[in-house]
Amino acid sequence: STVICVFEKDSIKIDEDLLANSARSLETLVTVGMQLGVSFPKLENCVLEP
């Protein structure tokens, strides 16, 4: 069995090590709760300094 999570475009920055292994077609052994990635700061929340 498998779970797939789909995130909206530009909503998550996935951790580099996971991306690097996957780009080598190599699965990474992980456990529940390990960090996957962080959300990209939403542009609308950014306030440009004058």
Binding site: S1, T2, V3, I4, C5, V6, F7, E8, K9, S11, I12, K13, I14, D15, D17, L18, L19, N21, S22, A23, S25, L26, E27, T28, L29, V30, T31, V32, G33, M34, Q35, L36, G37, V38, S39
Partner: protein
Amino acid sequence: GNGNSTETKESRRSKMRKKIQNFRSRRRLSRPGSGSVSGLASQRSVSADDFAGIALLTLIGAEMKFKDKWLACVSFGEQTFRSEISDSTEKPIWNSEKKLLLEKNGPSLARISVFETNRLLKNNIVGYCELDLLDFVVQEPDSTCKSFDLLDPASSNVVGSMFVSCSVEDPVETETCFAKRILSIVDYDEDGKLSFSEFSDLMNAFGNVVAANKKEELFKAADLNGDGVVTIDELAALLAVQQEQEPIINSCPVCGEALQLDKLNAMIHMTLCFDEGTGNQMTGGFLTDRQASYGWMFKLSEWTHLSTYDVGLNTGSSASHIVVIDRKTKRLVEELIDSKIVMSMRAIYQSKIGLRLMDQGAKEILQNLSEKQGKKMNSVESAQNIPSFLEFFKDQINMAEVKYPLDHFKTFNEFFVRELKPGARPIACMDQDDVAVSAADCRLMAFQSVDDSTRFWIKGRKFSIKGLLGNDVQSDAFLDGSLVIFRLAPQDYHRFHSPVSGVIEKFVNVSGSLYTVNPIAVNSKYCNVFTENKRTIVIISTAEFGKVAFVAIGATMVGSISFVRQEGDHVKKGDELGYFSFGG
């Protein structure tokens, strides 16, 4: 020789015709009594003198006197096969084929019955005809279409016409095609060449116990230029010669039947077995659970060792490996799978022939096996399997972190969906909802874009986000999104958790197949596991990540998906969402 030249074909054809004519005249002189046994070669021995060939019978269509939905049945010897049901018409077209074994002293009379099918009458016979297949191929050697009157079984009035063709395959061609076909199964990359390990796998599938050095000797004999690979043609030729000396094939790789007969019988048996379920074949007789359970072609899942079918996981030379990297230790870890299972999965999922076979009925077998497995694993007796399972995965299952002691689990399924002690899985940055976490104990693949996922991992040609999420989920926002795949192996903790904090917006169930989710299938261009398997999609609405689609996908044996949360529930990242268990 040049087997493709017109002259050679002509001379074979005329030889064949002569041979069949000889059989006909001898049969007329010494026709056996009734009660002759028919069927596959495994059921009785066929001597070279008795073998007339493999007849390809095609039920083309019929002309009836009224409009209805029609199906046709062929009875030959002790076997009966049926076509698909036609559209509602006066002129049904089936184009259904069946390969039948023709023997000198075997059955040759085929009875074709045409049934009307509707809700009120069910399958009501309307007409029938009988034809002698040997007569047919002698009179019409080029397999032209011939019509036969369909007779009413009650009054013998003519009620329609049946259109049929029949031809006999040249035994030499049957043999050549068979050798190439069986060898092509292990030609995983379809380059027409076999490596030694592929050849070795094939010998194992044939139930052959020849020593490793004998296999090597055989392989080297074919590898004339010593480059470590041989072409299928070279190997087919070698096998043909070797088979004369000592049998290489001891059991049928399709149905698992022991083949204690000669080369001819083995070849006939396997030719008929391989054809079953492929092309526009009539259905009948073969794809039973019992037969399926014996053949390696149907050992389609890494879970099979837990089934009743007694494959057993092997270690050492017969084990294959999937290599994964442990994120904690940064070490490569090998996942053991029996090489026969790997070979079965590759044969089925990574070849066109395999997937065609799957389309024609093996899907139902997977469903049935999974349902049966669910019942079995819910029985009290199944608890007996827990200790051996733990022993096999002793380095990978930590009972110290399991919530309940071993004697708490009354069935294997209860153990399979075991809960862990609170705190056994620390959640990263628990107070920061802008950090997403792993949803399962698993082997994970992550891609920043869908394009990357198809470039590096998902090879099914029909994969798309829209296909994955189905028609009932608004998928536009996810189309160019990021993808994380969590694959659970047999020994893994089988509960899944929310990777993000948010509100569960909705659940959508999509019915489908139960293909394996092993990388062998995911990496196959012919198989579309993620868009064809049974699955449930959960949409979680979050403040930090927008919407997240969580898709739980069932697989062979482990096809049951349960949730412990409902629509409208607020979930914190790391909260349990549900679990996978044995079942259909």
